[in-house]
Symmetry: C2
């Protein structure tokens, strides 16, 4: 169930077995550097989202450039990071279930861990887990700042939940989680600005009301790759939670005024059939490249258009005589980087056409 | 990267960690039995498709009921089956690349393996791999019988390729691969019948032309869960390659006159938030339940409708006051069973509310 690595260091890119998850190290490092430079002196910290990369190696590279810690969505991801030496982890999500909370509390022996809540019953369950483990956990209140998914209403409901956390002997109030995911992918900059302006207003109001009740918010977290400039400028957020900036994908590139990062993540695929005129078939279909945010693009080959996917096949339309060779390797740009990474066991790091490193996707499949 | 099992035998279903891949064993066994009964005495054999289940355990259960062998799409899947004791494996797909072909040829020491080709260059590459390994491989000619994906044209082009295979000293002509995947999901029975009628006609004509050149087709394979009655009735196909029949999914259930199998595969999910009126959020999003064939359905809960997915969240609309409890476990019916199975490391087999077995998804992630 763990797949063997598709490459060895020193190989040429064309020799990598496919489908493979390719990381262009020059572009990747440039992205990490660009984000670090942008945040320098801003007073806002980066808590990079590991749901994107699922790797303590990448987490350490981010933290070496100033990231304060990592976000995750699942306890299994928190485990992979804590076991990999990451000292500060926020589960930017609800964790429901006694066993999961016990696993999370157990991690507090080796890393600082925090978790979110949007329900009084959850606060009680986290308190119970922390007490049973003999630890004290930071709990953030998640507010619904516009995504209409999880989170209590900003304002009095959030304050009531925060007070309940603060009153729990084995918990401490960790601040606010205020993330507007769908805002990242609104196409027009003014739509993104408007969505985040609403989130900022709701968050600012809630922070103020908490302060009036004597509760400071150590973390005010949110913001992703598509919108973080707005959270940065808000004066309210203390941490941004971007993840995709390290890799980018076809969907972020479709935004008008897309975020200033380079495409570093690819799925390398092989042309496995070109028996039909005008069509080439690659060995990367639904199982290798998720299509929830559209079909992948073919990098650097304008005459090749990925037009349909089945389980293990991707069909390319060949335009303007751009017929690829049978066996030719093509770099696909995934529509959506996060679920793409989660398909693979290994990153194949390449630089100037050579494989430089293999990194395990340590939290691959860590869904629970 | 291998995830711990989400359950232990003897647990109640409600105790299983989520998201988990749940197999309802009564329904699953009923499906295997129903297919075996249907094929009994038909003269057509089942070579079940392991791209669906990725498990030598399930392969053996199918073969105990009369299946002649298994299909796979990838060399990594063939390895998982051969290592798990499956004696007869057809890669119903092209395999392009020297290392992959060497791995496939190496398997011939422990299992009978065959592979498809739709290009003379591939035939030469397979011959080379077989010679280097000192073995003889069966190669089927894949014909394009309507799917417009892989496969040479039926008729003379297929015959020419078959003759090239037969003339290769380390190969033998294994027959025809004639699979019309997209026909399975045409909604109306008459559309499926028409698509398969075309495939049958092209296949029959090619078999005849091969015979005229002295080439018998040991295998004439194709047919899936959505169409196999037509291939059965054709008198041309010798093997059908159904896979989904064991599990079923929401997309097959959308066919008019759907195939006569029960839903046995589910993704068990937990309600993790219900902070917003009219909405419940489960812990299974894009990473747990692929949405390429639509959102999952919620089994047995007509008032709950899965309306959107993000990476780790599924948003349910709550109708008619059907609000689930926080922490409640729900069975989701995946839109498409094949890529769903490939997300998970473990099947959790349940019967009458109790976990009976844990089976590894042995070829999970076997993409190359």
């Amino acid at each position: 169930m763990l797949q063997p690595p598709p490459a060895e260091p020193g190989m040429r890119e064309e020799e990598v077995e496919t489908p493979a998850l390719l990381l262009d190290l020059d572009a990747f490092e440039a992205n990490l550097d660009a984000m670090a430079r942008r945040l320098e002196g801003s007073g806002v910290r980066l808590r990079a989202h590991a749901k994107t990369h699922k790797s303590p190696i990448i987490a350490r590279l981010q933290m070496a450039r100033g990231a304060i810690g990592q976000c995750v969505q699942k306890v299994g991801e928190a485990e992979a990071l804590a076991w990999g030496g990451i000292p500060d982890i926020l589960v930017s999500n609800q964790v429901v279930g006694e066993r999961k909370l016990a696993r999370l509390a157990a991690l507090s022996g080796i890393s600082q861990v925090a978790v979110c809540a949007d329900d009084a019953a959850q606060v009680a369950a986290i308190e119970h887990a922390a007490e049973a483990t003999g630890t004290r956990l930071a709990v953030l209140v998640e507010i619904d700042c516009g995504a209409a998914r999880c989170g209590v209403a900003p304002g009095p409901a959030a304050v009531a939940l925060a007070e309940r956390i603060a009153a729990s002997p084995h918990l401490r109030f960790g601040g606010l989680q205020s993330y507007h995911g769908s805002a990242q992918h609104k196409r027009k900059p003014e739509e993104r600005a408007a969505a985040i302006a609403g989130a900022v207003e709701a968050t600012r109001r809630t922070v103020e009301q908490l302060r009036q009740r004597g509760l400071e918010s150590p973390i005010v977290g949110g913001g992703g790759t598509g919108s973080f400039e707005h959270e940065l400028a808000s004066g309210v957020y203390t941490e941004i939670q971007a993840g995709s900036y390290a890799f980018m994908d076809a969907d972020y590139a479709r935004n008008e005024a897309p975020p200033p990062f380079r495409q570093s993540l690819f799925v390398l695929a092989t042309v496995m059939s070109r028996a039909l005129d005008g069509i080439a078939v690659v060995d990367a279909g639904h199982k290798a490249v998720p299509t929830d945010s559209g079909y992948p693009l073919v990098a650097g080959r304008p005459g090749l258009v990925y037009v349909s996917a089945s389980d293990e096949h991707g069909k390319l339309r060949v335009e303007d005589g751009a017929t690829p060779a049978l066996g030719e390797k093509l770099r696909l740009i995934p529509g959506h980087c996060d679920p793409t990474v989660d398909r693979f066991d290994w990153y194949v790091g390449v630089r100037r056409g050579r494989v430089e490193c293999l990194w395990p996707v340590a939290a691959r499949g860590a869904m629970h």
